[in-house]
């Protein structure tokens, strides 16, 4: 028998193994294309710039990875870093999530082992794109698991494949996983999806095997990202809601208890997490549900043995007792400090004004701002309006798995609405929901079997009975054409939306998310690309021209970059673990030279680095961040620093001649505008960020006595100052400067006055 046959009725019969083979081939090729799309759309920055680590945090991760590759794992875990947070240092090994570094160092070792040594930097740069293709695979499995267990959504693999491609290129996920953004989220989202898939699978099957796998991936997730708390809370919530719906069964019991006990034990092996899972309130929900499950199990047993009336009475008394004991013990334990209260970041999710009032350092991060609707559309495109439809379909047949999706969507959309960065956790569930709705649509409207059948039948009928019932058949055919037309309208519009989605994603990725922010891209007047490479220029200068143990003071945003690129000691960095230390640096920047010199000498500063964008109009500079320095240091020293005094009487934030005296005297201001006038010759200098014009005379009068300019980058973005050594005769540096200016000023004045008429004539 051959593989393809034509049977007696004229149907084509194909051998099932061949069909399966074709199916496999098709799915594999689809996956290869999805991976290709996912990876290649993340490579814009590598192609445009070069293989470079982006932004801030990735620089630290990169540095830590290099340390891990060069030292042993145990040395890494015990790593005390004396090059940051000078003079305190940081117990880095115990205060980081090692998952990312371990992953890339393992990949590095594997490549080395098979004889393909690859530079660790390239592995770090390309880790995120590689994991993104795994994420789409996990997405496929998750959606397949959800759709296959419900009767209405049991529609082959359309939805699952759609979700994979959605996830592969959605900007909401790309934003954190372009090549070079070597951050925890790069692998964490993959792990999140795998964990969720395994969880759904294990609750579906009630299998210990899958529950164990869930906890193993949960452990991996804990080791990789602080956002693991999301899993720690969403799984118990899912189980809790299932219990409320009266869906308790042994499958749920088995998978939850296995996951909880193994997962908690394993997560405690991470040094940074330690005993948090049994001591912090963030984890209490999972513990509570664990206890509740035991009680429900017990109640189930009682229900089988006792008569209904007795059972009811016992249950009532029992549940009352449990609630009271549970609540009071929770409160007591919190009060006596056995359980840590909620962490500040967690608090700010619920009480949205909390961070603004109590933790300015959290509020100062732009990622912690609420999300406007345009960001949702920007990151998710048309999936955002398919999202509610998917939720609707999940309700249509309410399996345990779809309850999970519902819980996830409601919670995820709330969190994403409160904090921009949590868009990342929302994006996967949006992909699932959108693909479920689109999958159903395509299932209904891409099905042309009926139409074809009617045509075929009418043709064969007209061939046999020529005269009878022709009108009726015609009607049928007409109808079917109309149906075909309507189906085509729907299908074509939606295929167009898909095309639009791809266009949108590519555009967003290329324009918004592919800038390394270490190298800035700009356009020349003639349209050609201009790269502004001031950061690397300055960091390289530091690396080459300063002593190896020089201490650089800069605002915390640049701490990781200085550590990673310049390899010099910093005072504060993006880890922000010590608010007082940050406030000290903030105070040194915001008070006048006199007071600042004292702070800097106490800290042991050698160089000060500021970012200044006024010359070329780079808005992310220190003068714009200055208010946060003031605010944070005001939180500690309200008597020395006062935010109000940096604003003019009219409440304006000015930096020109009208600026307040506190502003003009502050070290940050002086460092930014020192010699700014020289760049403009005799004309008035203009700050292109604040759009304010200083008078030339005033701008020339800005002086610095305790610091001397050591380096200013090509576009003035980075300016580095050296703290002058103490005077040999013990004189005050500021008074020396004043005396010198007094002696100079007569000649200078004469020169200026002599020049003036010429100037006027020229104009």
């Amino acid at each position: 028998m051959s593989i393809v046959n034509v049977d007696s009725e004229g149907y084509l019969r194909v051998d099932s193994t061949l069909l399966r083979l074709i199916k496999l081939l098709l799915i594999t090729s689809i996956f290869i294309s999805i991976s290709f799309a996912a990876i290649s759309s993340r490579l814009f920055s590598v192609i445009r710039f070069e293989s470079i680590i982006h932004e801030f945090d990735p620089w630290f991760n990169f540095r830590a990875t290099k340390y891990l590759v060069n030292n042993s794992f145990y040395e890494f875990l015990n790593w005390f870093d004396d090059k940051t947070w000078y003079p305190l240092g940081r117990v880095t090994g115990g205060t980081l999530y090692p998952g990312l570094m371990v992953t890339s160092s393992i990949i590095f070792r594997i490549f080395e082992f098979i004889g393909m040594p690859i530079d660790i930097r390239n592995i770090c740069v390309l880790l995120a794109p590689a994991f993104s293709s795994l994420t789409s695979l996990a997405m496929y499995l998750l959606t397949l698991e959800i759709t296959s267990s419900s009767k209405n959504l049991k529609n082959k693999k359309t939805a699952a494949l759609l979700s994979a491609i959605f996830m592969g290129i959605t900007p909401g996920y790309i934003s954190r996983s372009v090549a070079g953004s070597y951050d925890n989220e790069a692998i964490a989202i993959t792990l999140l999806m795998v964990t969720f898939y395994l969880w759904v699978k294990s609750i579906h099957l009630g299998s210990i095997f899958y529950a164990c796998l869930t906890s193993i991936f949960y452990f991996y997730m804990v080791s990789a990202w602080g956002g693991y708390v999301f899993i720690t809370n969403i799984i118990p919530l899912h189980v809790f809601i299932l219990l409320l719906m009266g869906r308790f069964d042994y499958k749920i019991y088995t998978s939850y208890t296995t996951w909880y006990s193994l997962g908690t034990l394993m997560s405690m092996q991470i040094p940074f997490v330690g005993f948090l899972p049994i001591r912090s309130n963030d984890h209490m929900a999972s513990f509570g549900v664990f206890g509740l499950l035991q009680l429900v199990l017990f109640a189930n047993y009682l229900k089988d043995t006792l008569n209904p009336l007795k059972f009811k009475k016992i249950m009532l008394a029992f549940s009352l007792l449990i609630t009271i004991i549970g609540l009071s013990s929770l409160i007591l334990a919190t009060k006596f400090g056995l359980i840590a209260p909620w962490t500040g970041r967690f608090y700010s999710l619920w009480d949205t004004n909390y961070a603004k009032i109590h933790i300015p350092i959290i509020a100062s991060v732009s990622e912690h701002q609420p999300t406007p609707w345009s960001s949702f559309f920007f990151d998710l495109n048309f999936m955002i309006w398919l999202f509610p439809v998917g939720v609707y379909f999940c309700f249509q047949d309410l399996t345990n798995e779809s309850v999970f999706i519902i819980v996830y969507s409601v919670l995820g959309s709330y969190f994403a609405g409160v904090m921009v960065r949590l868009m990342l956790t929302l994006a996967p569930v949006v992909c699932v929901c959108a693909s479920i709705s689109l999958g159903r649509l395509f299932d209904i409207y891409l099905d042309f079997k009926d139409t074809l059948k009617i045509w075929y039948e009418s043709e064969s009928e007209t061939a046999t009975k020529e005269t009878k019932e022709v009108d009726d058949d015609d009607e049928d055919v007409k109808d079917s054409i109309f149906t075909l037309l309507s189906k085509l309208t729907v299908v074509l519009t939606f295929i167009y939306y898909l095309y639009f989605y791809v266009q949108h994603c590519t555009w967003v990725t290329s324009n918004a998310y592919s800038s390394p922010s270490v190298v800035l891209a700009s356009k020349n007047p003639d349209g050609s690309q201009l790269l502004i490479d001031d950061y690397r220029e300055a960091y390289y200068w530091l690396r080459m021209n300063t002593k190896e143990d020089a201490k650089i003071m800069a605002w915390w945003d640049y701490g990781y970059q200085i550590g990673g690129m310049a390899d010099r000691t910093t005072f504060v960095d993006n880890n922000t673990w010590n608010n007082t230390h940050i406030a000290t640096v903030g105070k040194a920047m915001s008070v006048n030279e006199n007071k600042s010199e004292i702070i800097m000498r106490q800290l042991g500063v050698d160089y000060v680095l500021v970012i200044f964008g006024g010359l070329i109009g780079y808005s992310g500079d220190d003068i714009n961040k200055f208010l946060w320095m003031v605010r944070i240091s005001e939180g500690i020293w309200p008597e020395d620093v006062n935010e109000r005094s940096y604003f003019t009487d009219k409440g304006e934030y000015r930096i020109d001649d009208m600026a307040t005296s506190t502003m003009k005297e502050s070290l940050m201001y002086k460092m930014s505008y020192y010699k700014f006038a020289d760049a403009y010759g005799t004309s008035d200098p203009i700050d292109r960020v604040r759009q304010q014009r200083m008078s030339s005379k005033y701008a020339h009068s800005i002086t610095l006595d305790t610091l001397e300019e050591a380096f200013t980058s090509e576009n003035w973005i980075v300016r580095i100052y050296k703290l002058k050594d103490l005077d040999n005769f013990g004189r005050d540096l500021i008074s020396i400067g004043e005396n010198e200016r007094k002696n100079l000023s007569k000649r200078n004045k004469r020169m200026i006055s002599r020049k003036k008429p010429n100037l006027d004539l020229r104009v």
């Binding site: 999300t371 406007p372 939720v391 959309s413 609405g417 649509l441 109808d479």
Partner: protein, 296 residues
Amino acid sequence: MASHSKQQALQINDKNYKELINNEDFSLVLLLTASNPQIGCVLCTEFMPLYNHFAASYYENLSKQGSDQKVILAVADFIDSRKYFTELQLNNVPKVYYYAPTAAKQMVPNSEFEFVASDPYRQLVTWVVAATKLSPELFKLVEKRDYSNIALNILIVVGALGVMYKGQKKIVKMIYNQRGWQGFSIIFVILFTCGYMFNVIRGTQYIKTNKDGTNEYFIPGHQAQLGVETQIVSAIYGGCTLAFILLTDKLNSMKNKRNKNLVTILMSVIIFLLYSFLVSCFQEKKIGYPFWLLKF
């Protein structure tokens, strides 16, 4: 003067202000405000309860400690004391002034409070203590126990419990109503994806009116948003959701083929129009967005 009802700040009006500023025994902390909504002073309305609480705490502490009163806390509202305001030559409110004894006649305050964004209560106390040299103990916040509020809460809880007991079955039915939860979740999701939380947290204004009286419905940029934007966009999402559900779920049960086809086409046209409107809205938010479906 000091013998007014001791629980709140002294209200000043056109009649009694002369008496107040002519007194020679007390120093004066004075809040000048305009609570009239027509004037539309947001800071005034925000600051007023705080100041009242401050004054109430002060008098409460004073009576508790039994010490002599040296400072009068007073409020002057623009509606009641226009004369005083003109004499002070004020052109903006709110202001908090401190006058040493006998200084009020000269109108020029000895010290003025500077409004700050963070923790205004503490700032106010620090300032008053610095000006009056009184002990900060006097200004410690006294939480008033509002018994009527507590009683009301108890009543509500009891009432709710009663209703719950009476209508047990109905409530249980409501709780277990799948449709209700479905609608609730969908509305919830749409609301949050339309930037509702942004409006709540930032307290954005509802609509922007230009100088020529026209309204603006969208502000460009991801940093700002108007209240009306959320409403427009959530209406679009809602419309799309409904049309999509009709297309994929409800139409299957329709018997008449012709009508079914008509509705199908109609729905996809509606979705197309709504979506293209959404894209054009987005173009207003993101200047330079190159794609569009239909230009509105």
